[in-house]
């Protein structure tokens, strides 16, 4: 399992290269901003008929992470679906697939701004949840003490050995983690955006996803 280990208020966490976060002590895997059904939503709005493979691609990667970590608990940290209608109109095969991933696991859906309400799928639906003293919610609260959130789709750019890299990234400081978007059809917000700079402490790290998880000082 490729990842970068760090601690958040004494809790050991592993940022996986895939963009998922693993908490060994709770056997918990957290993913954020799956945006399942995004292509379908765009089609419904009459905008474009994007290749309808993003749910398949996202679930494939999620399944791999679940296998690799043997996680017993899963938290989907909001915007799991591109909107509520997308959750309702998930194709049957993909619903079954999701259900099979949920089997034997404690599965928590956190509400996001795209999917603000219970979805018609197994699991627990919550606005936020506390696990071992850490708050899991979709959108970071500036006042939060120990918090893991998503929403911003952070990405970081940097030059390594003459190559410019721009990758979805975890932003991590002593009190919070902002998760990268896990979904295949997602853009990103650069870490030097004021919204992210204001949330993160000066000594924050960015952990780049991709083939390996690599930590660097958060580019700002």
């Amino acid at each position: 399992m490729r990842g970068y280990d760090f601690t958040l208020k004494d809790t050991k966490l592993t940022a996986l290269a895939s963009g998922a976060l693993y908490m060994p002590q709770a056997q918990l895997l957290c993913v954020s901003d799956l945006h399942l059904g995004k292509a379908g939503r765009r089609a419904r709005l009459g905008e474009a008929l994007l290749p309808p493979y993003e749910t398949q691609d996202t679930l494939t990667r999620l399944e791999q992470d679940l296998k690799a970590t043997q996680a017993r608990q899963v938290i989907c940290l909001g915007d799991s679906f591109d909107d509520l209608a997308a959750s309702a109109s998930l194709p049957e095969a993909e619903t079954l697939w999701l259900t099979s991933l949920q089997a034997g696991r404690h599965w928590i859906w956190i509400e996001g701004n795209h999917d603000p309400g219970p979805v018609d799928l197994g699991g627990t639906h919550l606005a936020e949840v506390v696990v071992d003293g850490i708050v899991f919610r979709h959108i970071a609260k500036p006042s939060a003490q120990v918090e893991i959130s998503g929403h911003y789709h952070p990405k970081a750019r940097l030059v390594l050995r003459g190559r410019t890299l721009s990758k979805p990234a975890f932003l991590v400081d002593h009190s919070r983690v902002i998760m990268p978007a896990y979904g295949t059809y997602t853009g990103g917000l650069r870490s030097d955006d004021p919204a992210l700079c204001n949330l993160m402490a000066a000594d924050a790290l960015a952990i780049l996803t991709g083939r390996e998880a690599r930590a660097v000082p958060m580019p700002r």
């Binding site: 089609a43 290749p51 493979y53 750019r157 030059v159 050995r161 190559r163 410019t164 853009g187 917000l189």
Partner: protein
């Protein structure tokens, strides 16, 4: 048969004009369903196209739209409006003429749809938009004629394909519509006629008297052209003399950068402060219009310009055209020469100025071709499918349609005459459902089939999005280069998109006389950092948009085969003789490869003569293959005639490198992950309507940047590799910058005959290639001087002596 009414006879007489034969002929044949007029500039082409309309409308009995005029340029539409008003007003004809372009106020556009003028002047994009309205049938009701101006230029691009598809629509609305095309001299009038006519109708071609042959020659200068470079700064004094001796001189350049440098140098040499202007596509519109105005008023003695002046706006009294740098294409040269002397029946006067020694041979080849009336051009192939997809969506905006009727309509466009029903159905399916192997959007498909079998938009509101994205013009093909924002973001210049696409971060190249390192491509800007220490690995692309044509390349090879070269200046003839002594001449029927050491590196020069784009692709493929074979290539540089690869190991057995099958496989592998493919995909996906450039709901939060088209490309390649858009992307990339077709052509030409010459030194023909490495399109004065020192040293090494400066060479 229509006779010229007395009022017109009187008007012609009052201007002191007599009607040209082809103008009378156009009038006489005004009932032909399609007519293509080929006439040189100044031949009264536009009036010829409009004469039947003016005569028809003179009686004042016509209501509504009579004639639609389409030009590739907004400016041309405005220019024609001015020119047409003269006869209309002087003869007091009851004719309303208006133009309609992207600049027309929307209130007037609305009014034009309900109450169109007699003559509407517009562009292909504005016409496509007009046909997308539900009331198109009313707007075009009674339309009798359509005149397509500068059709030779439109025929080379997707804009032309879109226009011809729009004409099929008009023809369906107005079955008696007559089509007229106006073209400059082209190599294959029948090909243009095929595009213009309703297939399979015949299209008569009227050839206006081409006038006397042009008076064209190579400019001879006291100083021989340099060994490399494209600036032709050496020719400034001679060009200045020519400007002084003529009324108005147009000085054409192949690239904007060269035009800028030349203009700068010309200005420094302009001791009498003659009014000289510059005009090219990268200049601000206000500045361009100022120059155009001054030209029309005859206030300028010379204009340094690029292809931006290729089209037929009337520029007044031009009596000399100078082409700086070898013309890459004979047809374009002939069209440029035609800009000189608008007085019909006087020969156009033109001078060619080779920018370097090899271009002397190229210019000679071009002169021979012009004198032999042997124009060139590569057939464009069948109409592209991305444009077809957009046409289907535009058709759907106008109302429900029957697929079979639409198919029949589309195949009446020449470019789509061979379109199979299967391919059409694939395109329709793509428009309707996305055309994915996985059926996903049945309930949300964009087009629905009604119970009566007609197709219609599922959501009528989709029309807005489709109309906002009509058109096929893509981003410019040059990219701005600037320092990274963190280093001040200073703009350095522009490089060609094709070159930028081959760069990976860390590559260094030359621009504006400095070595920079490629960092990233952001929002169509190439970001670089200064990097003085490194030797540039890949030279900046020459900046010539067009590769030397196949025909011209063949003529160059023919010249090289001559036993001696009486037509060439001595300096060039001597150079070629030396090549023959030291190595041998490249020839068409075999591939010459030279191999020699220099500065501790092994150099391999492949004389492929396949044109710059194909030679660039060949360089990429060969170095990749050499890497696999452990030949340690370090870099390469390509010109229209050769690719030079340098590395640590010599090539001793070249044949396996040129196995067509291996090259093709290399291409497949290279293409899949290539930035060029992704860029081509973005262009085709945008035209076909999968990605929208403009959207009414583009409330960009600024937060979550839109998903990149690369993700869509990667997803399709992974899950739906046979998808229509991927095959479209492949077709488009192959006939665009990759130009693999000409590599295939070269491989067929050499048929496995490869000659490897192992030399002790750089050969005379190869020597200038070393200078290509350090070449830049925006070289300053100092750069040019350094270049000349380095060139002399190199030439001495190759056993060549630079003739003394100032020595006459002819």
């Amino acid at each position: 048969m229509t006779a010229l009414p007395p009022a017109f006879e009187t008007w012609f007489a009052s201007r002191g004009w007599s009607i040209h034969h082809h103008q009378r002929e156009m009038l006489a044949r005004s009932d032909d369903p399609t007519l293509l007029l080929i006439a040189p500039t100044g031949g009264g082409k536009t009036l010829a196209g409009f004469l039947p309309t003016l005569v028809d409308l003179a009686e004042g009995t016509n209501d509504g739209l009579h004639t639609l005029y389409i030009s590739p340029l907004k400016a041309l539409a405005a220019d024609i409006k001015r020119n047409l008003r003269t006869p209309v007003e002087e003869m007091g004809l009851p004719i309303r003429i208006e133009d309609r372009t992207g600049d027309t106020p929307s209130s007037r556009k609305r009014r034009q749809r309900a109450d169109p003028p007699h003559i509407l002047l517009t562009t292909p994009e504005s016409l496509a938009l007009l046909t997308s309205y539900e009331d198109a049938d009313r707007t075009f009701n009674g339309l009798k004629r359509v005149v397509v101006d500068e059709i030779h230029a439109l025929a080379e691009s997707k804009r032309g394909d879109q226009l011809m598809l729009a004409l099929t629509r008009l023809q369906a609305l107005c079955p008696d519509l007559k089509r007229v095309g106006l073209s400059a001299t082209v190599e294959d009038p029948a090909a243009i006629a095929h595009l213009l006519a309703r297939h399979p109708d015949p299209c008569a071609i009227l050839q206006a008297d081409p006038g006397p042959d042009p008076d064209i020659s190579m400019l001879t200068t006291d100083e021989p052209p340099p060994w490399a470079g494209g600036g032709a700064a050496y020719s400034i004094p001679a060009v200045m003399t020519q400007i002084e001796a003529h009324n108005t001189t147009l000085i054409f350049h192949n690239t904007r950068a060269q035009a800028e440098i030349f203009f700068h140098n010309l200005w420094l040499a302009n001791e009498d402060a003659l009014p000289i202007g510059i005009h090219h596509g990268s200049l601000d519109r206000v500045q361009r219009e100022r120059v155009e105005g001054a030209m029309q008023r005859g206030e300028l003695r010379a204009i340094v310009c690029t292809g931006s002046l290729d089209l037929g706006i009337d520029w007044g009294d031009v009596d000399l055209v100078i082409q700086i740098g070898a013309p890459k294409n004979v047809k374009r040269l002939v069209q440029r020469i035609g800009r000189a002397n608008h007085r019909y029946n006087a020969p156009s006067k033109a001078l060619l100025v080779p920018a370097n020694r090899f271009e002397v041979v190229e210019c000679q080849a071009a002169l021979d071709a012009v004198r032999a009336h042997d124009l060139d051009g590569d057939p464009r192939g069948p109409g592209p499918f991305d444009v077809l997809c957009q046409h289907i969506l535009i058709r759907a905006c106008a109302g429900p349609f029957d697929a079979s009727e639409l198919y029949a309509e589309i195949t009446s466009a020449g470019a789509y005459a061979d379109l199979t029903r299967d391919t059409f159905d694939d395109c329709l399916k793509f428009c309707a459902t996305g055309g994915y192997a996985l059926r996903a959007y049945d309930q949300w498909q964009r087009l629905l089939q009604r119970p009566d079998g007609h197709w219609q938009l599922r959501d009528p509101r989709a029309t807005q999005l489709i109309r906002m994205n009509i058109g096929t013009i893509q981003d410019t093909d040059t990219l701005k280069v600037r320092l990274k924002r963190s280093r001040g973001g200073k703009p350095l210049g522009e490089i060609e998109e094709g070159f930028a696409a081959t760069l990976t971060p860390g590559d260094t190249f030359l621009i504006g006389g400095q070595i920079v390192r490629f960092e990233s491509l952001r929002e169509m800007t190439v970001e670089v950092s200064r990097n003085a220490a490194k030797k540039p690995k890949v030279a900046t692309f020459g900046g010539t948009k067009f590769a030397t044509s196949t025909q011209l390349s063949q003529r160059i090879l023919d010249i090289l085969q001559q036993p001696n070269w009486p037509d060439l200046p001595d300096h060039t003839a001597d150079w070629l003789h030396l090549q023959r002594d030291v190595s041998q001449m490249p020839q068409a029927g075999e591939l010459l490869i030279e191999s020699f050491p220099r500065d501790g590196r092994e150099n391999t020069v492949i004389y492929g003569f396949a044109g710059r784009n194909a030679m660039q692709t060949l360089g990429l493929l060969l170095t990749k293959r050499m890497e696999e074979l452990g030949l340690a290539p370090l870099g390469f540089v390509s010109t229209d005639y050769a690719t030079m690869i340098w590395g640590l190991e010599p090539i001793t057995d070249p044949a396996p490198l040129f196995e067509p099958q291996i090259l093709r496989e290399g291409l497949e592998a290279w293409l899949a992950g290539n930035a060029l493919m992704k860029r081509t995909f973005r262009a085709s996906a945008t035209i076909a309507g999968l990605i929208q450039r403009n959207s009414p709901s583009a409330r960009k939060s600024g937060r979550q940047a839109t998903m990149s088209s690369d993700i869509i490309y990667d997803t399709l390649a992974k899950y739906d590799p046979d998808h229509l858009l991927l095959s479209i992307t492949r077709i488009e990339a192959m006939r665009g910058l990759i130009d693999f077709g000409r590599i295939e052509e070269m491989l067929a030409r050499i048929a496995g005959r490869i000659t490897l010459r192992r030399l002790e030194h750089v050969s005379p023909l190869a020597a200038p290639l070393f200078l290509e490495v350090g070449r830049t399109p925006v070289a300053g004065e100092g750069q040019e001087r350094l270049l000349s020192i380095e060139t002399d040293r190199l030439m001495a090494e190759a056993g060549l002596l630079q003739p003394t400066k100032g020595q006459p060479t002819n």
